[in-house]
Amino acid sequence: MATLATTYGSSPALLLNTATITSTDGESANVSKVIVHPIVLLSVLDHHTRRQEGAGRVIGTLLGKRDGETVEITNCFAVPHAERGDEVAIGKDFNRQMLALHLRANKRETIVGWYATALPDEQANGAADKFKFIADTSSLIHEFYASECEDDPIHLVVDTSLVADAIELRAYKSASVAVKGEVLANIFHEIRLAVKSSESERICVDKMIRGADSPEGASFSQEEGEALKLSMEKLLTMIETCSAYVDGVVSGSITPDEQVGRDIFESLNSIPRIRPEVFDKMFNDSLQDLLMVTYLTNITKTQLTIAEKLNATLGK
């Protein structure tokens, strides 16, 4: 599926959805994988929610670092822009100023590309085509970012239309199509995209996912016991699923899958075999440590209360 249209003044955009086309332009390191942090996605959605009345889509700059074949996008900020028909205006000064402010806080991030949300397409016939991922103006914006960014910029599109009943994310890189030295168009290749987060981000996102159902959101006052119970229940269901699978295979009702069997075997083997005496010793040691620390903290707290009472009377 390719759309080609001429735009006013510069190269049009071509969208090819296959990932089998290899880039013949060998000067920059070939980017084959893009990693996005959840904060970037949340920021894009927030910008989209706050967009001006009548704006079809929003754009912004992606910050991150490039590591050979992988580009990791760790931060982003919004850039005001206006597009009408085939013309597009981007806040260049805004971009530079924001970049400077951001770099003050974190010197290790550089511009790696730009993001945009899906563009509503008035000329489309069917409902499925109502939102375009790449518009003709995209190549203009892409050129601007190519001048700002060191290497080829990455283009991230977040589909906020929810037409497909999910929020889709696509990452593209562009290569120019030249015939006899004359640049005709830009091809946007889709690249593999993965959402990864650091340890603490993971914990926060997990908390948010759990709280996504309730209207109040996730609260921080969850009891330690509650959380432990949840973990144990989950572990139990997983073990039960495995056990049911193994029973099924043994009785012949499920066709055995070697890989699954090997995985189960490995995970069962990873449980360390500890002799009872060794375990008892470990258990008692840990228990004693915990008890001692509890005792110490209780004494300290009592001492503090006494000190406060004394201090209070001194004051009067």
Binding site: P38, I39, T49, L101, I167, S200, G211, F283, L290
Partner: protein, 338 residues
């Protein structure tokens, strides 16, 4: 700092948006081992709920304003004037720019990373006091603990100063105040707008999984089952020891001062009742003098020690549970095996 429009009523709970939380976490985590601060933007809605929608970090202070190290990449694209801003001006500039993209332009507080729960320091008190007096009595401080956020726990707390302590500080007296009444914890909930929630559901289902063989999804249920307790306890005990030492030193200062006062006010108690009253008054004046040791220090310290103790108690409670569970499972296995 921009003035905040009051919506009436003191703040009783805080709704933190996922985006702001992630920004805070990212900034604090990246800047380890230094502790960092930043600003919070949001809105005060009715019923005493403060909504925080955005956060941005404060820059590292420039050593010398005219001495900005420029690298080759930076000179091309970076606005030098913006790069030279510091502190307050940075904040104003950032807020101005965010206004252009329709972000809430209200500064409602600040955030800081804390080390293993150490928040009760005089610098935090002073800072929060200036926010609460200059900006709005509803300004809050969000404290994120990068050390304790592990094993599936997210330690993000929100505090503000109680009215009592604000009064005390403003009048400059050296009175006693119950350490537990200095900081007031405000409950925090993490909320997200609709689009983000649908994205989260997709992520929870593993839709945007990795393209390799790494662990997908954001499930931290099993991190909690980790049994190692020692490092956490050791760190806490270390901190407790040093803070208790500091507290003891402060108390000694008080004793010393009281002794001095007593000896200078009235060494001769044989003069009878009148002299005793005079002495009592002199002692009171002595405490009100500017060079009297500040009570607030020791009160803050005892508050901090109490916080450490509470943290350890919470941890050992969970630790006991896990330990007994494991031993129960193990004993069962043993019985089955034998």
């Amino acid at each position: 700092m921009a003035a905040v429009m009051e919506a009436g009523g003191p703040v009783t709970s805080v709704k933190l948006e996922g985006l702001a939380a992630l920004k805070i976490i990212k900034h604090c985590q990246e800047s380890l081992p230094t502790m960092v601060t930043g600003s919070l933007l949001g809105l005060m809605i009715e019923d005493g709920v403060l909504e925080i929608t955005h956060a941005f970090p404060f820059p590292e202070p420039l050593d010398d304003k005219g001495d900005i190290v420029k690298t080759a990449e930076e000179t091309a694209n970076v606005d030098d004037e913006a790069a030279a801003l510091d502190g307050h001006e940075f904040q104003l500039e950032m807020m101005k720019m965010l206004r252009e993209v329709n972000v809430d332009n209200n500064c409602v507080g600040w955030y800081q990373s804390m080390y293993l729960g150490s928040y009760s320091t005089s610098s935090l008190l002073e800072n929060q006091l200036s926010y609460q007096t200059d900006l709005s009595p509803n300004a809050v401080v969000i404290l994120y603990d990068p050390m304790q956020t592990a094993h599936g726990n997210l330690v993000l707390k929100c505090y503000r100063l109680t009215d009592e302590v604000v009064q005390l500080k403003l009048t400059g007296k050296n009175n006693f105040i119950n350490p537990r009444k200095i900081f007031q914890e405000v409950p925090v909930t993490l909320s997200n707008p609709g689009l983000v929630r649908s994205l989260l559901r997709d992520m929870g289902d593993g839709l945007h999984g990795s393209c390799g063989a790494e662990l997908t999804g954001a499930d931290t249920t099993f991190d909690r089952l980790d049994l190692s307790t020692n490092p956490y306890l050791e760190k806490h005990l270390e901190f407790l020891c040093s803070w208790v030492d500091d507290l003891a030193a402060e108390q000694y200062k008080f004793q010393h001062y009281t002794r001095n006062l007593r000896s200078s006010a009235g060494g001769d108690t044989r003069k009878g009742r009148k002299a005793k009253d005079e002495m009592a008054q002199a002692i009171e004046e002595g405490w009100a003098r500017a060079d009297a040791p500040k009570r607030m220090e020791s009160l803050l310290m005892s508050n901090q020690i109490r916080t450490y103790c509470d943290q350890v108690e919470k941890f050992t409670g969970g630790g006991f549970g896990k330990l007994f569970l494991t031993s129960g499972l193990h004993k069962d296995d043993d019985k089955k095996a034998s």
